[in-house]
Structure formats: structure tokens, C-alpha cells
Assembly symmetry: none
Homo-oligomer: 186 residues x 4
DNA sequence: CATGAATGAGGCTTCATTCAT
DNA sequence: CATGAATGAAGCCTCATTCAT
């Protein structure tokens, strides 16, 4: 990790900590200690802790979308890709012990003035939504309006499966969500 | 509010604050100041801040389930009751400016040792789930196994609608979820 | 313990706690909880925590002096009794894991205005001193002045052995003190 | 005092307070107020109150041993040095109004988990003991074993004289201890 | 870019005591 | 005599941030 630049090291360390311990549970001191970075150096790259979280979420967005799209890329039809998304959820959430969604986790208990972070969450969710809409529109099976409608339903299932599996520390919500998605897409 | 007992005042005040500002964003000092109670009095009734949150969630569970069941009580069939639940969500979440679910919000960024709070969330979600399962079983339209399966799907839609409407500060997820529920229940 | 009166129960419980946990480490709440006594009842019998400590030390004085004198009563000469006192120390301090002297422990880190407690310590130490002086005077081997002088030396050895064995959590100071006493008394 | 660094100011202030008021009687707030330091600055230098006490005891050890050895350095034989140690005690304890031994005072009523402080006390007492043993061995008058035995006796007299003079607020224990030491060393 | 000192504001918790029932 | 509510003062500690070197 030492060959990375300072900024990268901070984001990488903070990402690990923010996701696994939570935003409020992670202090600036732990970040700089584990990143091996001086405090002033950190504040040269980031105006505030909130800004680090923004960088974390931006990077996470790229990684997460990439992983998801990789995972479903073997499927031929777009519908199959959407269904496979639930398998992606399953593998991911199991691996992280149902730690939940980075964006959900960080917005639910945040000071009211942390808008930059909230914006990142909106951007992320919008991108996922757009991706789902696009997939369904490309299939040509639905009208654009129908595609958006069904897509939204699938997205809600995704979100619900994530948060519920986090609370229950169990994978049944993911399985159930997949079942619902299959039926809604048929 | 002065005619209430100290304990009630604390829970009431804390409930307001925990739900609207978040658990981590609400300090003990603010709670006692707004409740008009001495700090040590508070600790006579509650061993810790976490215990206040537990009391808050317990009370909230009673209120929330009651309101929901009241709301849907006018419907004749159980399926209709379930569908109407999404209308309940709509009214509630709009009123609270899409502040989301008290249980979701409090567990997503919590110190790792706050198990009592996490347990409350699990209890709440289990109760909701049991209620949904019961409704569908009573209808007699599904086998017990099917009722549980479909019920879980509906629950996931509820959860997804709540969290997504919170992030988006918009009611479309609730509308979309209702649409999906209607189709899944037919 | 339930057949005892309230006052006795408080003193008995507090004695256990004060001696084993320390005065500052023992709270009024723990005392009343373990004694099974209401707070107001306690404050009816004792004006303050300090007063409980005074009662504790008074009772301890009686018990401690009694045990010591019992222990050495089998010895025929008074010199032998004094020497045997070190054996008493050894048995006692080993049994209590070198928890030290109740009086020493309670005065060394006390608010400056706790004079009642300090007085108890002085009374106790004076009584022990008087007892030692008396023993040596009775023997008739020393002049009164010599008896007091040698007695004081023995007492200092006793005190030193107690505090040092407490710090070292070891019995060597008691053994060494006995050795010195034997030589000083010959 | 302002020209000292923050850390030194904290230790110096805390030393004064810990020794004169006691460890439990001295709060962090008083320390920082009298040292003229912000609370967080203090915690930058010391992880906890216990750590401040450790620093205090370490510094005190150096000062105390130094003063003692200075005091006795005019004596030619080691035996004389040991005897003179009681004169050192006398001067010191009189000056501090029989406030007693910093190490004795701090361990006798300490929360059970304060091991770092307890260790400091053991280290200090061991150093004193080693010094006494060394002096007697160097004299060549005793075998090594005898030197250690007699040395331990002297040490116990020192400890006993300190604690007893503290309780009695009087110097007779020091005088008596010196008398005993003289006889034991002859 | 590193080091870490310094800070103000606030975090949660506990104390011995009093008082009303 | 029991119950336990209520309290003011104080306890120890941590936060994100700024600044001087």
C-alpha cells in the first residue's frame, strides 16, 4: 500500500473503515494512523471528514458498478442480467457478513448539514436506476414507460433485500427478492 | 408536557430527537435539556443512552404497528390490507419528509457493541413479517408456504420503498413498490 | 444476614466492600444494594458515607484486636506474644491476599476534611501501641521508658511489614520484620 | 512555570496535586486548570489519568532517590549512610507535614485495574531495596545473604516509619525507627 | 509533505445526598 | 423503615479541526 500516493492511501484506508465500522465510528485519527499519513497532509487533500467520505463513495461507486456489471456480463439477455444481480448481491453481502450498502449506511444517521454525502448517495442510486432502466429498454420487450416502471420495482427489491439482510444478518431476504424479481419480470 | 412523568418525558423527547436528528447526532445533554430533567435523574431511569434508544424503539413499535393496523382496518380482505399498507407508508413518509424507518436508521451506523438496539430492530422486523404472513395465511388463498414466500416479497418491497424514498426524498419508490405488490399478490 | 438489624447489615456490608474494594471504589448505592436496605433508611442511621466508614473502623478495631489477642494468648511470656504477632500478620495477610491494613488503606487518599475517619485511624494505632507497651512493661524486663522505646520499634516493624507486603504482594516483608523483632527483643 | 513545555507543566502540576490531595481527590479538570492547558492537549500527551500518575511517579522516583543519595553522600561508611537515611526521612516528612509516601498513598485505594500505577510502586520499592542491599554488601561486613536480610529489616523500618508518622502526624515513628536501625546494624 | 502540539466543544457516566411518598 | 425519584457537581475522555515547525 506504501507505493500509493497519499490521497489514495487515505481514501483506501477510509473506505475500509467507513464501510466496516461505520462513518460515525471511524475517527480522523484512526484513518491517518492506519494510512500512515500526517494529519496536516490529510487536511491538505481533504477539507473535512465529510470530503473523505465523498471520495470514498465516489470510488466505491466505480468499483461497485464495475463488479456488478462484470458479474452479470456472462448472461445473454438483459432480463437474465437483472435476475443475476440478485446473485451478485448474495455473494457480496455474504462475504461482508451482511454489512449492508455503503450508501444506505452512511446517510441514515448523519448530521443534517452533510449534503455532499447525501448527494453522493442520490447520484449512486440514480446511476443504478438508470442502468436498470437501460437494460430493460434495450430488451425491447417493454415500452419505455413500462421498462421504467418494472425497473423501479426491481430496484426497490434490491434495496429492500440489502437493508433487510443487514438487519436480519441472514440471506433469506435476498432469496425472496430474487423470487419476486423473477415473477415481476415474466 | 410537564404533567408527564420524568421517564415518559425522556422517552418522548428522545424519540423526537433520535428519529429526526439521528441517534449519533443526539447527545444526552440535548435530551435532558429539552426534557427538562437533571442528568442524574435520567440515569436513574436509564442505565445508558442505548437503553433510552431501546425504550424509544419499543414505544415506537407499539405506535407504528398500531397506526398501520388502524389504517388498514377498513379494508375487508387481507390482500387489500397489504396493498393499503403502501398507502400508509405514503402518508407517513410524506408527513415526516421522508425521514425513513426508525429501525433502519438506527442500526446502520452504530457502535459494534450496541446489541440491545440491534435486537429491537430484529424484533420489530420479525413482528411486521409475522403480521404479513398471518394476513396471507388467513386469506386461505395460499398454502402456508406460499403465503410466507409471497409475504416476504411484500416485506422486501416495503423496506426497499422506505430506504429508497429516504435517499431520494421522493415518493416514487413507494408508488412503484405498491405497483409491484399489486402484481405479486394477484 | 437477614436477621440482623438494618444498621448492622449496613456496617457489615460496607466493611466487606470498604476493605476489599477500597473506600473510594465503593459507592453508597452498592452498599445499600448488597445490604438490602433502602437509601433513606441508610441515611437515617448514618449522616454520611464517612460515618459509615467510621462505624466500619470501630467494629474492625474490636474484631482485629480481639483476633490478635486470641491468636497470641497461647504464648506464655509477653515477648513471645509480640513475636507471635508477626505470625498473626502472616496468616491474616496471606488470607486476604495482602490487601493490607484497613486503617492505612483508608487514610492515604482521603478528602482533606474527612477528619472523623482519620481520628479512627489514630485511635486504632494508639490502642495497638498501648497494648504493645503494656505487654513489655508487664514483663518487667525493661524499664518503662525502655519498654516504650522497644515497643515502638516493634510497632513500626508491624506497620512496615503490612504496607510493604501489600505493595509487593508477597510475604517476605512479614518474615523479615519478624526476624528484626526477634533480634530487637533479645 | 510558563516557559516549560505543556507536558512538563502537566506532570509538575499533577505531581503537586496527586501528592498533596491524593490521586482520587485530584480531578483532571483541576490539573488542566492549574496547568493552564486545554483538556484535549492533555490527552495528546497522556492517554489517561493513570498515565499521568505513572509519569508523576517516575519523575518522583528520580527526584526522591536523588535527594536521598545526595543527603547521605557526606557519610563515609555505608552503614552511616543507612542510618542517615532516617534523618533524611525526618527532614522530608516534617517539611511535607507528614503527607507520607507518594507510592504508598497512591496504591492503597486504587481501582483494581490500575496496574500501571501499581507496577510503578513495585519498581520504586525494588529500587530502594536494591540500593540498601548494595550498600550493605559493599561494606563487606556481612555475607551477601546476611546483607540482604539486614537490609530488608531496615527497609521495613523505613516503610513503617513513613506510614505511621503520616497517621500520627508526628515524628516519633521516625525517631524510633532510627533507633531500631542503629541497633540492628550493630 | 510529515510531525504532532494545541484547542473548544462536547461526548457519556457516576457521585453522595435530599426529599416525597 | 422501604422505595426510588430527583438533583448539582463533577467525573474521565474524544471529537474534528487548526496551526506552527
Amino acid at each position: 500500500m506504501k507505493q500509493l500516493g497519499v490521497k489514495e492511501r487515505i481514501v483506501e484506508t477510509a473506505s475500509e473503515l467507513f464501510y466496516n465500522q461505520g462513518y460515525n465510528q471511524t475517527g480522523i485519527n484512526q484513518i491517518i494512523a492506519e494510512a500512515g499519513v500526517a494529519k496536516a497532509s490529510m487536511y491538505q487533500h481533504f477539507r473535512s471528514k465529510e470530503d473523505i467520505a465523498v471520495a470514498y463513495l465516489k470510488q466505491r461507486h466505480i468499483n461497485w458498478m464495475g463488479s456488478l456489471q462484470d458479474f452479470v456480463s456472462t448472461k445473454t439477455t438483459n432480463k437474465e442480467k437483472l435476475i443475476a444481480s440478485f446473485d451478485y448481491l448474495h455473494g457480496w453481502l455474504t462475504e461482508v457478513s451482511f454489512r449492508g450498502c455503503g450508501w444506505q449506511n452512511i446517510i441514515t444517521d448523519l448530521p443534517s448539514d452533510h449534503d455532499k454525502i447525501k448527494n453522493q448517495a442520490v447520484l449512486h442510486k440514480n446511476d443504478v436506476r438508470a442502468w436498470v432502466h437501460k437494460l430493460l429498454k434495450e430488451d425491447g420487450e417493454y415500452s419505455d414507460k413500462q421498462a421504467e416502471q418494472v425497473g423501479d420495482e426491481v430496484i426497490i427489491l434490491l434495496e429492500g433485500a440489502i437493508i433487510l439482510s443487514q438487519i436480519q444478518k441472514n440471506d433469506w431476504p435476498i432469496t425472496a427478492a430474487k423470487g419476486a424479481a423473477v415473477r415481476l419480470l415474466t
